[in-house]
C-alpha cells in the first residue's frame, strides 16, 4: 500500500511540476515555431513575474491572486517592449547570434536582479485557503498543487480556444505553417508575432509567480531552469501546444520520480533521456518541421 501511495504522490507532484513547466515554456514554443528564434532568455520573463509577485505582495500588501495578475501583466508588458526594441532586430539573424544575444540578456537579468534584490531566495506567503492538504481517496494531496494543476488546465483550455477557435489563432497557425504565404494573404505577421511574444512572456510570468514555492526564486532562476524550458520545447516540438504539454508532463513526472527513487544519480536521468529523445525525434514529438 505504501509503495502505491508514494507512487501516486510522486505522480501527482510530477504532474503539478510538469504543468508549471508547460505554462512557462509554452510562449517559448510559439516563438521558436513562429519565428524560428532561439530565445535562451525566456526564463528571465518567468523570473520577472516571480519578483513582481513578491514585491507587490510584501511592499504593497496586494493579496496573492491579484498579484498573479500583476505578474502576468508586467511580464507581458516587458515582453512587448523588449520584442519591439530588441528581439525584432534579430529574427533574420543567424542562430548563433540569437543564442549569444539571449545569453547576454540572461546574464544581465541575473546581475540586475542580484543588484536590486540580493542573491537570496525570495519567500512567498500563500493565503490560508491554498495551504494544507486535501484528503481524498484515502490520501493527502497538497492544496497548492491541486490549485496549480487547475490553473494550468484553465489556462490551457483558454489557449487552445484562442488558437483553434479565434481569428487571431488562425493567423498564428497560418504564420507558423508558412510565413510567406501568410504575408501574401494579408496577415500582418509582424503584429501576430508581437502579440504572441507578449502573451508568451505574460504566461511565463504567471508561471514564475505560481512557481515561487515549487521551483524557488532567486536571481539564477533563468539559468537554472533554462535547460528545462528548452528541453520541453525541443523534445515536444516547437510551434504546437500538444507537443510541449506532453513533454512537460513527462519531464515533470520523470524528474520528480528520479529524484525520489534514485537520488544518487539525480538530474542525470533527465539529461540522458533528453539526448535520447532528441536523437529519436529530431524535430520533436509533435514537430511540424521535417
Amino acid at each position: 500500500m505504501t509503495t502505491v501511495t508514494s507512487f501516486i504522490g510522486v505522480l501527482f507532484d510530477g504532474l503539478a511540476y510538469g504543468s508549471l513547466l508547460f505554462l512557462i515554456s509554452i510562449g517559448l514554443s510559439v516563438t521558436m515555431g513562429l519565428m524560428n528564434f532561439i530565445n535562451l532568455a525566456h526564463g528571465a520573463f518567468a523570473m520577472l513575474g516571480g519578483y513582481a509577485t513578491v514585491i507587490v505582495m510584501s511592499r504593497l500588501g496586494v493579496p496573492f491572486l491579484p498579484a498573479l495578475l500583476v505578474a502576468f501583466a508586467i511580464s507581458g508588458a516587458a515582453g512587448a517592449v523588449l520584442e519591439r526594441i530588441l528581439y525584432r532586430r534579430l529574427y533574420r539573424a543567424a542562430h548563433l547570434d540569437q543564442v549569444l544575444f539571449t545569453i547576454g540578456l540572461t546574464f544581465m537579468s541575473i546581475a540586475a536582479t542580484t543588484y536590486f534584490f540580493g542573491p537570496g531566495q525570495q519567500p512567498v506567503v500563500l493565503p490560508a485557503f491554498l495551504t494544507g492538504q486535501v484528503h481524498a481517496l484515502g490520501m493527502d494531496f497538497g492544496t497548492y498543487r491541486l490549485f496549480l494543476i487547475a490553473m494550468v488546465i484553465v489556462v490551457t483550455i483558454g489557449l487552445v480556444w484562442l488558437v483553434e477557435r479565434t481569428r487571431f489563432g488562425a493567423q498564428i497557425r497560418a504564420s507558423v505553417d508558412n510565413q510567406q504565404a501568410s504575408v501574401g494573404l494579408g496577415i500582418n505577421v509582424e503584429r501576430v508575432f508581437s502579440v504572441t511574444f507578449a502573451l508568451g512572456s505574460a504566461l511565463a510570468g504567471l508561471g514564475g509567480a505560481l512557481g515561487i514555492n515549487v521551483l524557488g526564486l532567486d536571481p539564477t532562476f533563468p539559468l537554472k531552469y533554462m535547460v528545462y524550458f528548452l528541453l520541453v520545447v525541443a523534445v515536444g516540438g516547437a510551434g504546437t501546444i500538444r507537443g510541449p504539454m506532453i513533454a512537460a508532463l513527462l519531464l515533470g513526472v520523470f524528474d520528480v520520480a528520479g529524484k525520489y527513487y534514485v537520488p544518487q544519480i539525480g538530474a542525470f536521468v533527465i539529461y540522458a533521456a533528453m539526448v535520447a529523445m532528441l536523437l529519436i525525434f529530431p524535430s520533436g514529438l509533435a514537430g511540424r518541421r521535417t
Partner: protein, 318 residues
C-alpha cells in the same frame, strides 16, 4: 578576390607571437594570469574550429575541457605526474569522447545540436558532482602533484614554468591547427560553413568531415583542460560548468570567429577585462559581460579581428 591560403608567416603574425614572449620579461608578477590567458586562448581556439569553421553551435564544449582536466588531474593525483604524457592522454580521452558524441551532433540542426551539446555537458557535470569519491565532487580535486618537465623544470610558485610550458603547447597546437585549416580539409570545412547542402554535389562527405573536426576540437579542448589542471594543480567542478562554455563563446565572438587569431585575442581581452572588473565586483562583471554580448551581436559581428580586417580593407582601397 579570394586568394588561396599560404603557409608563409606574415609579419603581423610574427609580431603577434612576440607579444607573449615580451610579456614574460615585462610582467614577471602576472605570469599566473598570463598562463590562464594562454589556456583560455587554446580552449577558444578549439571552439573556433567547430564554430568558426564548421558552424556547429555548441553550448557544452566545456565537457571536453573538463574531461581533459580530470584526466590530467587524476593521473597526477595517483602518482603519474609526468606532464607531457599526461597532456597526450588527456587529449586522447577528450578526443575519444568527442568522436563518440560527434555522431549525435552531426544528425541535428542548430537547436538539436545546441540541446545535445548542452545535455552532454550537464551529464558530465552531474557525473563529476555525484561521483565524489573519484572527483572530489563539489569541493574539487586537490592533491594534484606534478613532476618536473623533462625532469628539469619544476612548477614553481612564480609561475614561470607554467607560463612557458603553456605558451609552448599553445604555439605547437596553434601551428597544427593553422596547417589544418589551410589544408584541403580546412577548405572543405569552409565549404560546409558557406553551403552545407551543396557540398555533397562536389563529392565531399559533410558528415565525415564534421565528425573529424569535432573530434580534433574535442582533443584540443582536452589539452587546454589538462594544462589548467597541471599548472594550477587543482581541478574544480566548474570545469564542466555551463558558465565556462558560455564564456568561451563570448571570448571567441569578441575576438572574431573563423580567424584562429580571433580566439587568442578574444581570450586575452576577455581574461584581462575579467581580472580587472571582477575584482571590483563579481556581480557587476556579469552585467557588463551580458551587455558586451548584446552589443557585440547588434553592432560588431566580426569581433575585434573582423573589425581590423574591415579597417585594413577600407584603407587599402584607393
Amino acid at each position: 578576390m579570394t586568394r588561396l591560403p599560404t603557409l608563409r608567416w606574415s609579419s603581423a603574425e610574427i609580431a603577434f607571437w612576440l607579444i607573449p614572449i615580451a610579456a614574460f620579461f615585462l610582467f614577471p608578477h602576472y605570469l599566473t594570469l598570463g598562463s590562464q590567458v594562454i589556456i583560455a586562448g587554446l580552449f577558444a581556439l578549439s571552439l573556433d574550429l567547430i564554430l568558426g569553421y564548421a558552424r556547429i553551435i555548441s553550448l557544452g564544449h566545456a565537457a571536453f575541457f573538463g574531461l581533459g582536466a580530470y584526466t590530467a588531474g587524476l593521473l597526477a593525483k595517483h602518482g603519474y605526474g609526468e606532464p607531457l604524457s599526461g597532456l597526450v592522454l588527456a587529449a586522447v580521452i577528450a578526443a575519444a569522447a568527442g568522436w563518440i558524441t560527434s555522431f549525435l551532433i552531426v544528425r541535428g540542426q542548430d537547436l538539436t545540436r545546441l540541446m545535445v551539446t548542452l545535455g552532454i555537458g550537464l551529464m558530465l557535470y552531474e557525473t563529476a558532482n555525484q561521483w565524489s569519491s573519484l572527483t572530489g565532487g563539489i569541493d574539487g580535486l586537490s592533491g594534484v602533484e606534478m613532476k618536473k618537465i623533462f625532469g628539469v623544470f619544476r612548477f614553481g610558485l612564480d609561475g614561470r614554468t607554467a607560463y612557458v610550458y603553456s605558451l609552448v603547447v599553445l604555439f605547437v597546437v596553434f601551428n597544427a591547427v593553422r596547417l589544418l585549416v589551410r589544408s584541403p580539409f580546412g577548405l572543405s570545412l569552409k565549404g560546409i560553413r558557406e553551403g552545407e547542402r551543396r557540398m555533397p554535389a562536389i563529392g565531399a562527405s559533410v558528415r565525415r568531415k564534421l565528425v573529424a573536426v569535432y573530434t580534433v576540437a574535442a582533443g584540443i579542448a582536452g589539452i587546454a583542460g589538462a594544462l589548467l589542471a597541471q599548472t594550477t594543480q587543482f581541478v574544480g567542478i566548474d570545469v564542466f560548468g555551463f558558465q565556462r562554455s558560455a564564456e568561451l563563446m563570448i571570448m571567441l565572438v569578441l575576438g572574431g570567429t573563423g580567424y584562429l587569431y580571433g580566439a587568442l585575442v578574444g581570450a586575452a581581452v576577455f581574461m584581462l577585462l575579467q581580472d580587472y572588473l571582477a575584482n571590483l565586483n563579481p556581480v557587476y562583471w556579469q552585467f557588463w559581460l551580458g551587455l558586451l554580448l548584446v552589443l557585440l551581436v547588434l553592432f560588431a559581428r566580426g569581433g575585434l579581428i573582423g573589425g581590423l580586417v574591415a579597417l585594413r580593407r577600407r584603407f587599402s582601397k584607393p
